[in-house]
């Protein structure tokens, strides 16, 4: 069982790490939350029956939500959805400071939080549309449609940036 867990760990660590890091925007928080995600996964691994990828990603997502929920309670934040705390930083700052893809990085600023979550799950965590749908409580088609809209939105912003 432990061997299998290590295989799962090796296979999905990078996806989980990037997902949480992009969602929180904070390396220190990401380190802790990724550790917590795999600790929970380790404890629950024996109950895993379905596909491991959606399973580990749902633990990662819930760990971040729990973290913000806890933070909200103690930090006296009022009322709003806990997921509002995600992507609450200049998202373009998360990427390594390379010249390439500069317009794309900047264009991500134009996305709202729900769109950033889809981008994160789809592209930075490598999830399939149906898996994202299950995780977010949406149909596969709804996720596809939203992804197409995101593409259009980003393309428009990039076009504009290139013309400037």
């Amino acid at each position: 069982m432990k061997d299998n867990f290590i295989l799962l760990y090796d296979k999905y660590f990078d996806d989980v790490y990037r997902y949480i890091y992009f969602k929180t925007g904070n390396k220190w928080e990401a380190d802790d939350l990724v550790s917590e995600t795999f600790k929970k996964a380790y404890e629950k691994y024996k109950y895993l029956k379905g596909e491991p990828k959606p399973w580990i990603m749902s633990i990662a997502r819930n760990t971040v939500i729990d973290f913000y929920r806890q933070k909200k309670n103690i930090a006296t934040m009022n009322g709003n959805e806990v997921d509002d705390f995600s992507y609450d930083y200049p998202v373009e700052e998360i990427f390594e400071k390379k010249e390439e893809l500069g317009y794309l990085k900047q264009s991500l600023k134009s996305l709202n939080k729900e769109e950033l979550e889809i981008v994160n799950l789809r592209y930075f965590s490598g999830m399939k549309y149906n898996e994202i749908g299950k995780l977010l409580g949406k149909t596969e088609n709804a996720v596809k449609t939203k992804t197409m809209r995101i593409h259009r939105k980003l393309a428009q912003v990039i076009q504009k940036l290139m013309e400037e």
Binding site: F13, R18, T76, N80, E93, F124, A155
Partner: protein
Amino acid sequence: MDKNYIEEQMLDLKNHIKVNEELKRELRASFGNKPKRKWKLAAIAAIAAIVCLVWVSNIYSPGVYIGHVNAASLKILNQVSFVDIGTANGDVAEYNGIVYNAVFGQGIYVYDSTGYYEIYNKEANYVSVSPDGKRLAFSDGNLNIFDLETSTATVLLKSDEYTDNGQLTWTSYEQPAWSSDNKHIIFVKKIIKQGEIHGFEVVESSICQINLESMDISKLADGSSPSFAGENQVIVFEKDGNIIRKDIRDGSEKIIDLGRFPSVSPDGEYVVYVKTEKNEKKISSNLSVEEDIDNVWIADVNFETKKQLTMNFVNYEEEGEEVDLENNSDLPMSILKTGVYSYYNPKWSSDSKSIYVIKNNNKLRNMKLMRISFTDSKLTAADTVTNFIQALISREDDYAKSLMQNPPEMLTVSNPRVVGYKIIGSGVEDQRDYVETEIYWAYTAQPDFQVQKQKFYLSYSESGYTIDEIESEEVLVVGLSKDAQSVIMKKDKEQVLFNIKDIPASYLPEEDFRIASLAFNEESGVLVFSIQIIGDDAQKASVKLITYDLNNREFKLIDQIKEISGKENVSMEGIIMDATGRYAAVKLFSIDNGEFGTSVLVYDLKNGSKGDIGSLLKNVDINSIHTKFWDREVLVLNLESDGQSMSYLYDPGSGSLKSFSE
């Protein structure tokens, strides 16, 4: 734009989010294979049984005087790893606070208050510093002297190579150690023969001394790891797994203990060594487990007493190895398990008050230089709690566990992160010792700071205090309101400390900004917070550091940081205040610095002066500096340079850095 363009670019962009490979490796090691069933219970019982004091006390040495007590009466004042030297093994020597570290295959390095830096860049495998601190003896096959004043190396004894009965044979000189009068060096001379088919064989390992004036060489014994004791009439060395004391006047030899790497203290009183204890456990009729656990020990040179200094434990998680504790074959089987740590070449400080040892973490596969300091007085309950909190902040879970009565299997530090502490009281309640503390927590780069009161209950045994129970009490939170318009504090009830619009207009930037890290000292009523000016095409990112005094409701601009280490576009990473509220350590980075190295500035909030830590180390190029915690009014830092990391202490009063060996 091509419809696949965005898709392809997005997939590529994934690779621009950097994964923390170090965390990946460390965390993976913590999920290694563990034994099954009743063995696991045995393991937990074993851990519980060996819980007693191992580690630190207050992290910097108060310079205690140790009288001549026997080895068993010495108590550990602190135990701290302060340089991470990577994967290569090595040797260590110390003179008056300067640590010399031979790293196999690399050279000789120095750790002192100016940095960790190379002084000799060729092969060096063993090193010893002369009692007058002027010369090093080191070996690379040859026996050499390195003059520390002129930085020149000369060969004392040269390895030779010849053919004996058709087999290639050579001599190798190793493990030098000085006599107390600086006039002799004791060393090992090995004669090594190439095997007929492969490999080689050590056919002789003799202990010799060389007189540095006459250059006469004499053989004293057979064995290895020699050192002189007292007036050089007695030597201590290893032979066949025993630590031997030999009087060279009459040639008598006595066994002190089982062990290896013995080293005699400069005052001639004690010998430190590494001992492997073997413990065989029968799992079933045809299966047994042999545990070979290294620990560092100390004994009186005259054999009166001995004492174990470290508290290593079984490594159940050796990477890539499935430990199946069932043997279904007919043949009996024995499984060998070793400790989480291995220890090499323990050596004494020149004042005989500390030992230095190379410690390998077998799970993470990295070597560290560790110092163990002694005292002959007992640690208080508050000292023990201090050690525990420091171990938690430093993420040295093994040490923290060793101070707990019933440590959990995994000790994770969850968010927010502990950034400081204060001991606020101690006493006895229902015949139990307790220590009251304030623990400070913060979110990196976020305006969120918390103070939690925690009460530690401890019990005392001969080996010291252990923590039985921790009770968490009230929490005070200082943070930003959800609408980001006010800084608020919540204790029993929520109160607005100030609104952003209350900040003097001259302090507020015209550009985009956000409130970043903050820290609060309840006793002084001073809140220190930062304004992150967000960089864009028009302006550079920078940070303003401001204090708000709750007593007189006054704001004071402490500094605007536009540049660190010659780089613009400065971003805030965190602020930690000392327990008195006088000093604030501010961790920043520049996004123009491609390596994301962080810098630390320390402000005296009383007089506004500041110290730039990065400018204090003359002998080393620093890539990154991290604040760990305030130990009273001394800041504990970790510095990274060229793949190595090292710890230092900063005293804002004198504005100077201090090494852990001073």
